[in-house]
Symmetry: C2
Subunit: 435 residues, 2 copies
């Protein structure tokens, strides 16, 4: 399951599954009613199983006795993805859940790798998954979801690249390198980084014959539309059953998307895409930021036929995608795409001329806020120059001056900080002017 | 600063402050460009300072050499509150920030205490603070903020309890127990748990004389409105300058709130409230859930006159409040206050009669979603009975049946799952019917 390994299995499968479920729930929620509970729990388990494996900051700590494990669970266990918790949830609630089952989840998770720009130690994982259906319409829906989200964000030029594990298997099969599938795809995946020559050399060094490489060369140069790329693959994979199956799947998805139309993203076939080959069994997605933005993929996902196998529930096919929230944020920032209203603060500062005036203004502030207009009162009756400068430095558009005269007439003097224009308005007029 | 202690200071104050700022930034952001950077950073520091103190899961680990510290920073340092990071931000950006400065922040943090219901190991901290002004209008604004939020949530019966550290100091002073302020207030704080007799016994056991306790007894039974309670305190604290100052502050806040009015919360004076006496210097807030709900405080805060002292910037007064997000969630759940639209999912399920029909339906799904109506297509062309049962189990209100006949006429048959009513509608009619 993604970055983790299978929890060690034992001869007593059923009980183990339940234990694993419970254990994960504890890790996820960090809710132990007491340390004792955990110890009892572990003792109970120890009777039956040789190992407990817990992912702790990307590593597994195996039980070396209660205290050791307890220490790491309670002090160090951190969530590293949302997929395993989701699988646990599905298995635990399999009798209440109505399948096909969809959920999204946005939550901070932790990574063990060296942090760098766009790869923070703690980051927000943002997943959407659909389980319990093998229908390719799920894949279609997720392409639409990417399109809808990037349309809302105004992120034009985004590309959703797709591939299919079956095509990669078919290619390896066709050239007689099925036993070298991983070497083959790892090399292929580097095409845009090290070029054709580099890929060929790496394949040769891994023991793939030059004849085999020669046969696969057409894919190094494949260009054109999704459908055109599929034609090249069709020729190449004419003799591979699994390869043809992969082509059919991609063709189905592309046809539906063409019929439905996309607003913002471009759907592309990238036969070099080999993301997550350890767990994806069908579709593979990866989202590239608009050209010119230096940022790795801003999303990805795929279909996995054994999501819940880790907890003992077999044959639950799922497909899911992730949004790289922190990276998308950085891309939006780089392209200046944050909408103005997401950035701007207070529109209206009431100047403070003393206790009575302040109270008079606070009543207006309250009404403005209820009308959805961001307003505030300067908290001290400081010198007017200081208060005006405060409004100026914070780029506040309007100030309100309300002294004894305004109070007597039940009006407010609204001043536009840019133009210097002043108007006397009653409360309703003030709200209307800002609405 | 809240649960932490001051970072150990050294003779070279200015440099230390900068180091402390940098260190906190690293801890908060977990962005180390490399392990080397950290080691250089620590070596540099070690020349000058004896200790580095880092809060790690509620404990301090003191530097025992580079590797030891490095290990704990990179592997274990977890955010435990948002106040220290905020103080660090204010000090680091003091020249760019325009004061008074307000910010809110919502983020997961970790606690070291034993987790239990409403006290999770990882929880969402939700803070609002205003720094750089001693104006009591900040306190007034925060009472209004509590009121606005609980009004939006429909959480009636919530009480914002206020006290003032100066009143507690005044009481201790008046009875000649200034040196026992903490013992005095800790005992007083237990009034609703252990009753008057219990409090008296605890005070006696701490060495507060029975004459002193006799003088303070009026506050054990103080009832009535905010203003009435203030009158009792005024008599009691007539000879204490600090006590009178605390009374004036609370009176000012209460008068303003009475003039402005509250929609949902009740403002109450609770003279036994002694929350956060280590750091609060003026106002103290605590929010109680509606009566009958078994839940500790769902919010709290106060004024602290030395927010940024930890990083070497003196005399920056601040006031801040927290919302206990997880607890508020539990209260809303217990009182069934989540709005229906926050719970309900898909309103409309299109049944799937085959590939062509599915595509026809997907186009409608897309239009409905764009109109803000949650709709989806059953992903497989399963038996109709199974699809209907799926809609039923998920409490989906409407299903759409669209076979070859509907496709030919460009209509959709909309069926109300509750009443069984069926209507034939074109796409526009469908959208209008659901809008």
């Amino acid at each position: 399951m993604r970055t983790t390994k299978r929890i060690q299995l034992s001869e007593e499968r059923v009980d183990f599954d339940q234990l694993a479920i419970d254990l994960w729930e504890i890790i996820e929620n960090k809710i132990l009613s007491s340390e004792n509970d955990l110890e009892i729990f572990i003792k109970e388990g120890e009777k039956r199983f040789q190992y407990y494996s817990l992912l702790v900051f990307g590593e597994f700590y195996y039980s070396k006795g209660e205290n050791y494990l307890s220490k790491y669970i309670t002090e160090k266990a951190l969530r590293y993805d949302l997929t395993v918790p989701f699988a646990r949830y599905v298995v635990q609630h399999q009798n209440e859940i109505e399948f096909p089952f969809k959920r999204y989840q946005i939550q901070p998770v932790w990574r063990a790798d060296r942090p760098q720009k766009g790869r923070f130690r703690e980051f927000f994982q943002c997943d959407a998954d659909a389980v319990g259906s093998q229908s390719l319409l799920q894949e279609v829906t997720f392409v639409q979801l990417y399109d809808a989200v990037f349309t809302d964000l105004g992120l034009k030029g985004t590309t959703v690249k797709m591939n299919n594990r079956k095509i990669l298997s078919g290619l390896a099969e066709t050239i007689g390198a099925s036993d070298k599938l991983i070497d083959f795809t790892v090399a292929l995946d580097k095409l845009d980084k090290i070029g054709e020559e580099g890929v060929v050399n790496e394949m040769l060094s891994k023991g793939i014959s030059s004849e085999a490489i020669e046969r696969v060369k057409p894919i190094f140069k494949v260009t054109g539309s999704f459908a055109q790329k599929l034609s090249v693959l069709k020729e190449l994979l004419a003799d591979s059953e699994i390869g043809k199956q992969g082509i059919e799947e991609l063709q189905y998805i592309n046809e539906k998307i063409e019929a439905l139309g996309l607003k913002t993203v471009t759907l592309d076939l990238d036969v070099t895409l080999a993301r997550g080959l350890n767990y994806y069994t069908g579709a593979i997605f990866e989202v590239a930021a608009p050209e010119g933005v230096k940022m790795g993929s801003i999303g990805g996902g795929g279909r996995y036929d054994d999501l819940t196998g880790i907890f003992g529930l077999k044959d639950v096919s799922g497909v899911g995608i992730s949004f790289g929230l922190d990276r998308i944020y950085l891309v939006l920032e780089e392209l200046n795409l944050f909408p103005e209203q997401a950035i701007k603060g207070t529109r209206l500062l009431f100047l403070n001329f003393g206790e009575n005036e302040a109270l008079y203004c606070l009543k207006a502030v309250q009404s403005l806020r209820e009308a959805g207009i961001t307003a505030e009162l300067y908290p001290d009756s400081a010198k007017m120059k200081k208060q005006m400068s405060h409004a100026d430095k914070r780029n506040i558009q309007f100030v309100v001056l309300a002294g004894t005269q305004e109070m007597a007439e039940e009006v407010y003097t609204l001043k536009n900080m840019k133009t210097g224009d002043q108007k006397r308005l009653d409360l309703k007029g003030l709200i209307d002017a800002l609405a």
